[in-house]
């Protein structure tokens, strides 16, 4: 596109300014993680590594992190399966109500989290409790998977639309069954779309708090729930900043790897 020099400059400035807006609060988080003040008053009264030590020693943080990872992986796995199936159905078939399928898949993310949260909470209690099954990690996974399906679905759908079915037909003509074709032809085609969708699904699940609040059993603490609880404890609030700061740094690894693995990640 033949943009004028001032226009290019302006756009680059907008990008830089936008990134600054994104990163200033994160810098505040980082600074607060070494803020000597227990309620992170501003400006910091002094600097300390005490909270990093406390976070390292806290088994609650580790347990919550592990719970979040399990919930995220479980939800992502379900989303990958359901999202891919739905995408194939919609892209490769013509049927009545095709539009409605898209709508149903989008609905859980489009409706406010509190609605999804109380609807699922209500349903779980009605349906599961008679069987003696209470809310737990399982219900969190179900809740998260519900709104994560859409990210996989859309990524796979976009990929299928772009690739067409020529290769698969060729494979079938050469005598490969549908399962062989899927394994050798289709799957490699959609692999990076699965990665992109899966990564976003995991991220959505990892920082979700509202649906989690309503679907977690009383003893199940994901990281956001742990953070929520600890923001209200006298000596724990600064530890929360440490956890967030550490997460930002740690998150660079999976995001970067995903970027390396697929040229077009980042598209939803």
């Amino acid at each position: 596109m033949n943009l004028s020099r001032p226009a290019r400059l302006l756009l680059r400035l907008a990008l830089a300014a936008g990134l600054a807006v994104i990163y200033v609060p994160l810098a505040v988080v980082l600074l607060n993680s070494v803020n000597a003040d227990r309620t992170f008053g501003w400006p910091p009264a002094g600097l300390t590594l005490r909270w990093w030590g406390a976070a390292w020693a806290s088994s609650g943080v580790r347990e919550a992190l592990w719970t979040s990872v399990r919930a995220g992986l479980g939800a992502t796995a379900i989303a990958l399966v359901l999202g891919t199936m739905a995408a194939f159905a919609v892209q490769r078939h013509r049927f009545f109500g095709r539009q409605a399928v898209s709508l149903v898949i989008i609905l859980p993310i489009a409706l406010p989290g509190i609605v999804t949260g109380i609807a699922l909470n209500n349903a779980f209690r009605t349906v599961l409790e008679p069987f003696g099954v209470g809310l737990g990690l399982f219900t969190v996974v179900v809740g998260h998977a519900t709104f994560c399906v859409v990210t996989v679905y859309n990524n796979v759908l976009a990929r299928l639309r772009r690739t067409g079915i020529g290769l698969e037909e060729a494979s079938a003509d050469l005598g490969a069954g549908p399962f062989t074709t899927f394994r050798l032809v289709t799957f490699p085609l959609i692999r990076s779309a699965l990665l992109a969708g899966g990564l976003l699904a995991f991220a959505l699940s990892f920082d979700e708090i509202i649906v989690t609040t309503f679907t977690a059993g009383a003893g199940v603490r994901t990281l956001p729930i742990w953070i929520f609880e600890n923001l209200f404890r006298p000596n724990q609030a600064p530890v929360v900043n440490v956890v967030a700061a550490a997460l930002i740094v740690a998150s660079l690894i999976p995001v970067y790897l995903a970027q390396r693995l697929s040229s077009d990640v980042g598209t939803h």
Partner: protein, 399 residues
């Protein structure tokens, strides 16, 4: 605080419901005396050997095993001493507590005043034989056989601790030092925009406490038993107050920040917030105003169908033992229930700071309880506003 307890899992509102009891000092009959008849259940006469485990439902911060902070741990010593492995479910609200206890999968619960009555009425919890709990002897008399932990003199649990909702102000801006809630209810307050109030429907009770002192014509006997006219007066007072409020607070961190930065200069608080704010050199003071105040007190109760009753009784005894009670009171920021705990606190001033032994102080506290349609003050000729009505009114007050 309890508040913290609830705050965590749910927002602070939940807490509101979470805590409390009726006001023992007004001499008003408890619902137990005025209304429901609890199912006939009996307490054990003797204890056997421990079952090897105990399943608890508790507020956050009540059952700490060192996983949040290695230094905060009164569960491990209990397990070593009794051989009872502790499994805890942290509940966020009283509703959740009641629901969890109804599943029958738990042995004991740290119930707040509102939940305790519901548990007793439904037969979910049994009377407690306090002679099997040696440490019960040392519990403050001001906490024994109260309307929220007993029915007609039969105890249904052991008291965990207590606290009051105080009035805090910044000494550099609020002069003279206030001794009345009027400073937060005055529509022409010089501190307009810097007044803060607790963000929960239960805050209506604070308004009712103030009205008890300033509007005797309303005839309010308990701030948790408000008929239509009394309720409307409290709602009007809070609507008027909203004009001078800068921020409603619901969590600990939020309020301390606001007072340190000066965004808030006067409003309700908890003792533990005062302590932390002071330790961070914020110029604040707090007082129990002359009109009295709201507060909270929780009770450990044993399930009627407890699978591990022996371990449950040992836990009840443990949590009110001087050492553990001191630890939990200090961690949570409240007054211990065991008089001997005062000698065990890490901070020798803890009991003095939290007025643990000051019965005159706590006689001015109206412990939190969830209002129900049946008036908690014993009136039978009118219906009172229940908590659902309080919640809707709170929405309307905030606008």
């Amino acid at each position: 605080m309890r508040r913290i307890g609830s705050a965590l899992a749910a927002a602070a509102l939940a807490l509101a419901a979470a805590c409390g009891g009726t006001t023992p000092t007004t001499g008003a009959p408890a619902p137990g005396q005025s209304g429901f008849v609890p199912p006939r259940l009996s307490a054990p006469q003797a204890l056997g050997t421990g079952e090897g485990q105990v399943d608890l439902v508790a507020w956050a911060g009540y059952v700490e095993d060192g996983s949040n902070d290695p230094k905060v741990d009164w569960v491990t010593p209990f397990e070593q001493e009794t051989g009872c492995q502790v499994n805890v479910k942290v509940a966020g609200t009283s509703d959740e507590m009641v629901a969890l206890m109804r599943t029958g999968q738990y042995d004991a619960v740290s119930a707040s005043g509102d939940a305790s009555l519901r548990l007793i009425a439904a037969g979910t919890v049994a009377p407690v034989n306090t002679s099997l709990i040696p440490n019960y002897t040392d519990v403050f008399d001001g906490l024994k056989s109260k309307p929220w932990n007993s029915v007609n003199g039969v105890p249904y649990g052991v008291p965990h601790g207590r606290g009051a909702n105080l009035l805090m102000w910044r000494t550099d801006t609020v002069r003279p030092a206030p001794d009345s809630w009027s400073v937060v209810f005055d529509p022409n307050s010089p501190y307009k925009g810097k007044v803060t109030a607790y963000d929960s429907p239960i805050y209506l009770a604070d308004a009712a406490v103030y009205l008890m002192a300033t509007r005797p014509d309303l005839g309010i006997r308990s701030p948790y038993a408000l008929d239509d006219r009394q309720f409307q007066a409290a709602v009007d007072l809070l609507k008027q107050q909203k004009q001078v409020v800068g921020e409603y607070w619901s969590d600990y961190t939020k309020e301390i920040q606001a007072f340190k930065s000066g965004d808030s200069v006067v409003g309700t608080t908890w003792q533990v917030i005062v302590n932390v704010a002071k330790s961070e050199r914020a110029p604040v003071e707090a007082v129990l105003p002359k009109e009295g105040a709201t507060g909270w007190s929780d009770t450990w109760m044993v399930a009627a169908r407890a699978a591990h009753p022996n371990c449950a009784y040992r836990w009840l005894d443990w949590i009110i033992s001087p050492t553990a009670n001191a630890q939990v009171a200090e961690y949570f920021g409240e007054a211990p229930s065991n008089a001997k705990a005062c000698a065990e606190t890490a901070d020798p001033q803890h009991c003095a700071t939290f007025h643990a032994t000051d019965e005159a102080y706590f006689s001015k506290v109206h412990y939190w309880t969830t209002p129900i349609a049946q008036c908690l003050d014993g009136r039978t000729n009118v219906t009172c506003k229940d908590y659902a009505a309080w919640t809707r009114a709170w929405t309307e007050i905030k606008g």
